[in-house]
Amino acid sequence: MNLAYRYTRDRILHLLFIFLTSLVVLPLLVIFGFIVWNGLSSINLDFFTQELGSPARAVQGLPTGLVAAVLGTVIIDLLGLALALPFGLATGIMLAEYSDNPLAGPIRILVSTLNGMPAILMGLMAYALIVKNTGGFSGISGAFALGFLMIPIIARTTESVLRITPWQLREVAMSLGLPRWRAIMNIVLPAARPAVITGVLIAFARAAGEAAPMLLTAFGNNYLNLDLTKPMDTLPQRLYSLAISPYKQWHILGWGGAIILLLFVVVTFAAARGAARSLEKRTEALKFDEDKNV
């Protein structure tokens, strides 16, 4: 084991690490490249204004588009967010600000656990609770499924964001005589607002990409439908249906849908990254002393 051998081994392992890392990263670039290359041609005005209709429409070359899926995704996702937001935010506040509460321990473990649970189970639950009791597949049941999915995500991001806001903010607020709840709602939350919002955006983007729960609840609809009590179309579920269909024209439309979905996810993701970084910078400036006993 002389030094030359040890250095050579180091260099070989360094190359091996680079190689293995590229195995993780390169497929992403291939996926992006392939989807943009294939899908760009199908993105035009019709794509955003026309309904899908029957396969014959696409085969005959008549104008078709995914307006139903795009609108459906936005509506169902927003509704799901509205359902999840109070519960998710409250859970995040509970875990970050009231960690002395006896319920905090079990809730924290369940939040992580539910974050790792398959989304399809949320779909099955929404089917059992909503679809079965309201008599059919509907947009609203899809919103519930996405709401279930978003609660633990919002809870976790809110908790971690509140934890990195400086503890001094609370001390200062309380020293000025504010009750604890006012300190949280009027001082801590506003200070963390951009990061809380991006956490919510992450949940929103994650839900927007979930096909499995949508297949079991909102079901899909080839025609534009804005009645929440009837089956509605969503983008990820439509992508699946297009991909397994036998029609070439529908495949191309699917590539276009994938571009829209990816674009949405990437933009949200970049915004979230940026906001997290700016919050870190701001809180760093607020940390006047390295008082670590908090």
Binding site: L121, M125, L129, R180, G209
Partner: protein
């Protein structure tokens, strides 16, 4: 507190903190956050409730052991799907773990800062790509290319030279959609989680320990091997376990790639089915109540398996972090 009337003041202050506003807020927060408990409970109860007819017909445990799934004969057993799920998930984890640990080491120890930032960004982005988009790419590009260029030559070679391999890879030749391509894509889907969790585990290694190894004259790799990996190992293992739970529940990409055959025995180049894939593929076509309830029962067992693994791994992980984060 030496101030005169300090007691009075303290009482007044604590009165403010226990005022009606605080109490109300506290109650509100506790009620709203209990939704998490309700969510977990609701999932268990509603799935079990919907699967009761299947459990009554086949038995809670016999349902797991029954090997055939035949909706027309009204015979339903979950074993093929449990097998399919376990095979694909375990192989996917095996494929993902080495590159994942390597990538985590590379970005934390080797890469210059700007490279690490880009690689971290891309890996986190990969985690954010919807499963159905990966599936779309895989069925039109990855799976056919893999079959033509790798699986087919292997099969032809095995047919000539290694007939003992045929029962494992399938005697009929590679089908378009098969276990192997689904497993590789599944590995791709879980690898960003494994990397992120391994990265966190490595981040908890005390600086002093690393510096001590440097001071003893260790080379870079020796520092990693002697000071970093042993300390980070428990965290990496629990991260792998959490990734496994992800793999078990990964739905769309696998459902699009695995070929949907519930006939045992499975072979590596042949089609199969997993628990999530059978739910997606049969749920919308199920007309018989028993069929629907059997699909729900598969979902119930998927719930039991994933919540078991997740609870265990989360528990261990939180204990580790509490012990080590200073």
């Amino acid at each position: 507190m030496e101030v005169e009337g300090g007691h009075m003041d303290l009482k007044r202050i604590s009165f403010i903190y226990r005022g009606p506003g605080d109490r109300l807020f506290n109650i509100l927060i506790v009620i709203l956050s209990s939704s998490i408990l309700l969510l977990a409970l609701g999932m268990a109860v509603s799935l079990y409730w919907e699967s009761r007819p299947a459990f009554e017909a086949f038995g809670l445990f016999n349902f797991v052991l029954e090997t055939s799934w035949d909706p027309i004969a009204q015979l339903h057993g979950a074993l093929p799907f449990i097998m399919g799920t376990l095979i694909t998930s375990l192989f996917a984890l095996a494929l993902a773990i080495l590159p994942a640990i390597a990538a985590a080491i590379y970005v934390t120890e080797y890469a210059p800062k700007w490279v690490a930032t880009i690689v971290n960004y891309l890996i986190d982005l990969l985690a954010a790509v919807p499963s159905v988009v990966v599936g779309l790419w895989a069925i039109f590009n990855f799976a056919p290319v893999l079959r033509e260029n790798i699986l087919m030559p292997i099969f032809l070679w095995a047919e000539q030279n290694a007939s003992w391999l045929l029962p494992i890879i399938g005697p009929n030749g590679p089908s378009v959609y098969n276990i192997t391509s689904a497993t590789i894509i599944l590995a791709l889907m879980i690898v960003p989680y494994t990397v992120a969790l391994a990265r966190d585990a490595i981040g908890l290694v005390p600086k002093e320990q690393v510096e001590a190894a440097w001071a003893l004259g260790a080379t870079k790799w020796e520092v990693i091997k002697l000071a970093i990996l042993p300390y980070a190992a428990p965290g990496i293992y629990t991260g792998a376990l959490l990734s496994l739970a992800r793999a078990l529940g990964e739905t769309m990409a696998v459902a699009m790639l695995i070929g949907n055959s519930n006939r045992l025995p499975f072979s590596l180049f042949g089609p199969a089915a997993t628990m999530p894939s059978v739910i997606i593929n049969e749920f919308r076509e199920a007309v018989e109540n028993l069929h629907l309830s059997s699909i729900m029962a598969v979902g119930f067992y998927l719930f039991v398996i994933t919540i078991g693994i997740n609870l265990f791994a989360t528990f261990v992980q939180q204990k580790l972090f509490k012990e080590r984060a200073r």
